[in-house]
């Protein structure tokens, strides 16, 4: 997150993708949330030295991105942003685990490198799944789906409020940060002495905005609860979507497809 404005632009772009109109966008949000959860659970339940069996799971984000007509390059760049922390923790594996697992053209591949690659692949898979869910569904429908799956209404209301004011306040914070940037030559004046009042003023404006918002809400008949959204019965396509992916992902979890394919190919070679 280099700058507030950059991050905000990223956020808005992801948000706009949810406005698409494909088969996947029209599915019930609950179906997509469920499929994503199954996917993530399948991926993280593999043993730590598992690498090849994880590869077929690329099917899920790839098919969703293709059918949902999402920009693959953009999502990939977002996935890359998440790597630093995982790399920082995972990079110790190759140095601590030096047991050679198998040989590949004379080079011994140690368990550490295998588990490191496995961590990287899992990160890519889980992050891609989460971003795809957001890009195909949008935040408000996801909230609604979560309420349908048992999330407390108070928390859902908090999420919706946050989502409504996120853009406004991030814009405001971004303006303040930019103003400070333009007045701080050579990095001077970017310390705590200016940071605390900047945040304090932002907080005060936020608070006043909340009071105005509250009055406006009261004037429109707010009684402590947001009106419930219209509920839709899940249709046949939603059911098919969950069943299809559930069955496929669990099958892929149970049998190692690349190893089967590899056996097939090496079998024909002899």
């Amino acid at each position: 997150m280099a700058s507030v404005h950059g991050a905000l632009l990223d956020l808005k772009r992801l948000d706009r993708l949810a406005g698409g109109d494909t088969v996947l966008h029209r599915l019930d949000p609950r179906a997509k949330v469920l499929a994503t959860l199954i996917f993530i659970l399948c991926v993280v339940s593999f043993g730590r030295y598992e690498l090849s069996a994880l590869v077929p799971f690329l099917f899920y984000p790839a098919v969703l991105i293709a059918v949902g007509r999402l920009p693959a390059g953009y999502l990939a760049s977002r996935v890359l942003l998440v790597f630093p922390f995982v790399v920082a923790v995972g990079i110790f594996n190759p140095f601590l685990d030096r047991e050679v697992l198998f040989r590949l053209g004379g080079i011994g591949v140690t368990g550490g490198w295998v588990s490191f690659a496995s961590i990287m692949l899992r990160t890519a898979l889980t992050v891609a799944a989460a971003l795809t869910l957001t890009a195909l569904t949008g935040f408000v429908p996801i909230c609604r789906a979560l309420v349908g799956l048992g999330m407390p209404k108070v928390f859902a209301m908090q999420l919706l409020f946050l989502y409504r004011y996120l853009f406004v306040l991030a814009d405001e914070g971004g303006r303040a940060a930019r103003a400070r940037e333009m007045r701080s030559f050579g990095g001077k004046g970017r310390g705590l002495a200016s940071y605390a009042p900047l945040l304090g003023h932002l907080l005060l404006r936020t608070w006043q905005r909340a009071e105005r918002t509250h009055m406006a809400m009261l004037a429109r008949g707010y009684n402590g609860m947001l009106p419930a959204a219209e509920s839709r019965r899940p249709g046949l396509s939603d059911l098919l979507f969950v069943l299809f992916w559930g069955a496929l992902l669990i099958t892929l979890r149970l049998c190692n497809l690349p190893r089967l394919l590899g056996a097939l190919v090496t079998g024909t070679l002899t």
Binding site: S52, V168, L269
Partner: protein, 336 residues
């Protein structure tokens, strides 16, 4: 300090999800009973504030690095535990969905580390107890710094515990602790300094905001926490026992693998190797992988076939995606 999905095992992730979901339900119920309906828009807008504040950095003199506010403790001081917790949790949900910070399975861990710890543990048990009814500036400074340090250290400790219990990373508990705790000591000091500076700014600018919290504060009961901790401990213990019981499987595996290799076929060179490999692989294909993280080295499998198969799978994935995309352009609407 965001945890990531890739470093978690399902049992740890699920356990932390259960704890965090319980905390959200409990906090929501507490908030639902509160009569002040101004709190809902305030929480929402403050969540937006927190989001913006986390993106603005300030430079730390003498180090060349920069820091930013995390905000759990600040919000707890301003709003009280439950609203602060829900606000932080909602920000984390948005970050998980839009920035994939951490991820969806790790969301439970993150909500616990960054939300439950400052709002429900450090604030009521440390900050409220130590700060007293009318603190002087020195006492306030000391208590705020100490509370922020404790919150960060506890959070880092939880990250380490969650990662180690998951068993995906190779780092040992002690080494990881030695790595994380000093870093988070520094981060905690920064957090404390910023929290203190913002609170004293508010005290000068609008003292009534802080006074509002000071008297309307009921001491929270500890029971829900103990219950949650117990549930968490049981779930994690369940995960560990499963981990332990997988080990014999691994042993059987290696014995069986050795037996499978000793095939009496008189072939030489590459052909012999491939043949042995094939026999082994066919046997592999029969065997359903046990779903456990304890089965270690034997699962990685032999090199050539695994790599080939992986490549083929990758090619298929790319081809299917490209095909679907092209069909889409052509106007057909395939069912997914």
């Amino acid at each position: 300090m965001h945890m990531a999905d890739a470093l978690l095992s399902p049992s740890v992730g699920g356990a932390m999800w259960a704890v965090s979901a319980g905390a959200i339900a409990w906090g929501s119920a507490r908030l639902g009973r509160e009569s002040d309906d101004r709190i809902a828009p305030l929480m929402g807008v403050l969540g937006g504030f927190l989001f913006a504040a986390q993106m603005i950095n300030f430079s730390i003199p003498g180090t060349g690095s920069s820091g930013h506010l995390t905000g759990g403790l600040l919000l707890a001081i301003l709003l009280g535990p439950s609203p602060a917790f829900l606000t932080v949790a909602s920000v984390l949900v948005v970050q998980a969905l839009f920035f994939a910070d951490g991820g969806l399975l790790a969301l439970g861990c993150n909500i616990f580390n960054l939300g439950v710890i400052p709002a429900f543990i450090v604030y009521p048990l440390l900050y409220r107890r130590l700060i007293g009814p009318a603190p002087g500036p020195r006492r306030e400074a000391a208590v705020t710094l100490f509370a922020a340090l404790c919150a960060m250290q506890l959070g880092a400790l939880c990250v380490v515990l969650e990662t180690t219990l998951s068993g995906v990373s190779e780092l040992s508990l002690v080494k990881f602790l030695a790595l994380m705790l000093p870093i988070h000591l520094a981060i905690g000091a920064v957090e404390g300094a910023v929290t203190l500076a913002v609170v004293s700014f508010l005290r000068k600018a609008r003292p009534e905001l802080l006074a509002r919290r000071a008297h309307a504060e009921a001491a929270p009961s500890l029971k829900p926490f103990l219950a949650a901790a117990l549930v968490c401990a049981l779930l994690v213990a369940g995960g560990i026992s499963r981990f332990a019981s997988d080990k014999p499987d691994g042993l059987e595996w290696s014995v069986a693998g050795a037996a499978g290799n000793a095939e009496p076929v008189a072939l030489h060179g590459v052909a012999a190797y491939l043949h042995a490999l094939q026999g082994k692989l066919a046997w592999f294909a029969e065997y359903r992988m046990p779903a456990g993280e304890g089965v270690a080295a034997q699962q990685a499998g032999p090199g050539v076939a695994g790599v080939l198969g992986t490549l083929i799978t990758l090619i298929i994935v790319v081809a299917v995606a490209a095909l679907l995309r092209r069909m889409k352009r052509g106007g057909a609407a395939p069912e997914a």
